[in-house]
Amino acid sequence: MLKNISLLIIVLIIVISCSKEDDTSDLGNNDDFNRKAMLSNIADNIIIPSYQDLNTKLGVLVSTKDDFIADPNTENLSALRTSWLNAYKSWQFVEMFNIGKAEEISYHFQMNIYPTNDDDIKSNIAIGGADLEHPNNNDAVGFPALDYMLYGTGNTDFDILNKYTIDPESENYKFYLSDLVVQMKSLTEIILNDWTSSYRDVFINSTSNTATSGFNQFVNDYIYYYEKGLRANKIGIPAGNFSSNPLPNKVEALYNKESSKILALDALNAIQNLFNGKSYNTNSLDSSFSDYLNYLNKSDLVTLINNKLDLAREKINLLDDDFSMQINEDNTKMTNAYDALQTVVVLLKVDMLQAFNISVDYVDADGD
């Protein structure tokens, strides 16, 4: 027993002497990080303003749609197309927020599932009065469906206009166009109202570290969106990274033919702005993931993530406005952009998640 006691004393001496020596490598985290302030900034300065902006742009879309239906001419078509693109760009800033009401009512599945299914759209038009909320119609509604309605129903603008004027089904076309836009607007209003009326408070107070807490879900969704929504859907899948051959028909804004790059760049900006806590309206910076990482002594990682995102932006900037054109002419540039985006997945999914020590979505089992 004497041995054990002396061993204990020796070990204790080592503890004391060593803990003094080794204080240089790590700075103590003596003040606590304010997670609620971080979530408040994200909700008040990023999420809600993004939804408000989208809602406004969809409002414009509704009125230009009304004008177009009242008088389908070239001028009104052009105005409608412009407001569609503006709303679509704005959408890129909310696509990563698949939480709360949005998740509950499958908002995302009704806003931007692409490629859209033109056969479904055609049959919906022919029948009239289709249930747009039905899951089978997820690939026949939202921005991609409008892309088809405004750019894909004919080879020339003249042909397209004819669908809304002299075509035997022109009334049905107008009806479907109107339904699509109204549906998008009303869904967005539901989400926005939920955020401003009740969900904001739920969100900013949901700071606990459990698999179902708001913050953990939010971070998981953010990374999931980056990996799936941005990296895979916008670049990787059309470039053929997940299939034997490239799939140029799977790009975003397929029929428009000049916007897939703009949309991808906006999505990347949205990702980076959130990471740095950049306000949607004013460009001022406040608490977000980057600050949390700084608090955890990971400022190197913040710099690295920002640099790699900038690099990915450069690679995307080299692409043609129309990704399907880019894929057909020189797919290497597409796969280069994919590779650049890929490097950030590792930093977010491994390094950032490890620093936050957030459990991966809903893993429920005992640990060691």
Binding site: M1, N4, L7, L8, V11, L12, V15, C18, S19, D22, D23, S25, D26, L27, G28, N29, N30, D31, D32, R35, T207, S208, N209, T210, A232, G236, G240, N241, F242, S243, S244, N245, L296, D300, L301, L304, Q342, V345, V346, L347, K349, V350, D351, L353, Q354, A355, F356, N357, I358, V360, D361, Y362, V363, D364, A365, D366, G367, D368
Partner: protein
């Protein structure tokens, strides 16, 4: 005082500690199985996944479809039989086999404490834990007051090995001088009442926890063995395990260890518990049958048993050191990591992106792991080389069956260990489909660009 093996082996001791251990063990195991079932983990861990990660040499052990529920039922029933001491020998053998089979079905769910339960139940096969206060002794109308002392000491030895080895593995530079991984884990417990925003965020507290954890593991068996410190030690056991149970999602482990530590107490303590239990039973059942109390339990094959158990303990003593046969950093390659009482030593996260290439045309595509793996499987696979290799073969076979030809499987993977930045993990130019699982060092794991000193 020269240690005499013969005299030692012929020493006897009260059967009570062994009896209480049997009851405690049976109860814990019965509850564990019910808990596992109630949480629907039989389905989510064994039936839902399309693919299972097997142990080298035990590839044939697979979930049995819906019969897996029957397997768990048998396992739980045998635990109940152990608890009441009914057909004890058959029950504990059944428990050992069924429980071990369950653990071998998928190494995704490997936990040190499951391994502990497996080998402990193996040990219990050889011990006369039904010699009194059991249905067996009631039916035979015979019970024994004394059992060989070594049969109780064998359990103490196994529990001590677990603690001391767990303590030894903590003697490494990451644990002691960087307070890793506690420095990552503890601050994330900010939502605990009182201590979450205060203690858990303190640098000194991370070091204090690391060092005291190491000292606790190394000393607790000795403090439990020594009569004067025993109650103090038991207090520490309860505090330590309850505290870690609150901090980490470790399920039944704290309770299993608390109950196991009771074996160190003297017979009088266990005897009191048995009397108490008897009083309750008599209240309900009014047992009248007379049981003949005999003095000493006689082993039929004591010599063979001693030899088997000696071999068992020799394996237990050396197996955790097999990692020394491998050239690279243990924490990085995990060659010889399991079955060694390395508990909560690492915070390791990985990312593995598999690429299927046609070697003739050089066409390739990437795999979406979610198509084949559950989130838990993907998480475990992404930082353990043997998982990565087995999964690569699964992918190769899968795409072959889909009609792909000239298949090569490459992986681009990154791993972050104990707060270090992520770095490339597997050589992305090695076709894993051509690599075979073996005990040899895995050449295709990239070197770890750092050093972790220690055991």
């Amino acid at each position: 005082m020269i240690f005499n093996l013969k005299t030692y082996l012929s020493k006897n001791y009260s059967a009570s500690p062994l009896i209480i251990f049997r009851i405690g063990f049976g109860l814990m195991m019965l509850y564990s199985i019910i808990r596992f079932w109630a949480k629907d983990w039989i389905y989510t861990l064994y039936l839902q996944p399309k693919f299972h990660f097997t142990y080298y040499g035990f590839e044939w052990v697979k979930p049995l479809g819906n019969l897996t529920y029957l397997l768990f039922f048998i396992c739980g029933l045998s635990a109940l039989f152990v608890l009441i001491g009914f057909k004890y020998r058959v029950a504990i053998i059944t428990f050992f086999l069924s429980f071990t089979y369950i653990e071998l079905m998928d190494k995704t769910t490997y936990l040190n404490h499951y391994y502990f339960i497996s080998i402990l139940s193996f040990l219990l096969i050889f011990l006369p834990a039904n010699s009194s206060f059991s249905i067996d002794s009631y039916l035979k109308k015979k019970s024994y007051r004394l059992v060989p002392k070594w049969s109780i000491d064998a359990i103490k030895l196994l529990v001590s090995i677990v603690y001391v080895y767990a303590g030894l593995t903590k003697i490494n530079s990451d644990w002691l001088f960087k307070a890793m991984p506690l420095k990552i884990w503890l601050p994330s417990k900010y939502d605990l009442p009182f201590i979450g925003e205060t203690l858990m965020q303190q640098n000194w507290f991370h070091y204090a926890m690391s060092w005291s954890g190491m000292i606790y593991d190394l000393t607790i068996p000795f403090l439990l063995l020594y009569k004067k410190t025993r109650w103090f030690a038991f207090g520490l056991v309860v505090f330590f395990h309850v505290f870690t149970g609150i901090l980490f999602p470790i399920g039944m482990f704290p309770y299993v260890m608390i109950v196991s530590s009771l074996i160190f107490f003297e017979a009088g303590f266990h005897h009191k518990i048995i009397l108490f239990l008897k009083r309750i039973l008599n209240y309900f059942f009014k047992l009248k049958q007379k049981i003949v109390v005999k003095e000493i339990y006689n082993f039929k094959h004591q010599k063979t048993t001693i030899i088997v158990l000696s071999l068992f303990f020799i394996v237990q003593l050396f197996l955790p050191f097999r990692y020394a046969l491998y050239p690279n950093e243990l924490f990085w390659t995990e060659e010889g990591y399991r079955f060694s009482w390395r508990v909560m030593l690492m915070e390791k996260m990985g990312y593995a992106n598999f690429k299927i290439t046609n070697s003739k045309t050089c066409d390739f595509f990437y795999v979406d792991n979610q198509d084949f793996l559950t989130p838990l499987q993907e998480k475990q696979m992404s930082f353990q080389p043997d998982f990565i290799l087995e999964y690569a073969h699964f992918l190769g076979d899968h795409f072959k069956s889909e009609g792909h030809t000239n298949i090569q499987v490459f992986v681009e993977s990154y791993v972050a260990l104990n707060g270090r930045s992520s770095q490339p993990f597997i050589n992305k130019n090695v076709d894993l489909y051509q690599q075979k699982e073996a005990f040899n060092p895995k050449e295709w794991i990239l070197p770890f660009n750092d050093e972790i000193k220690g055991l």
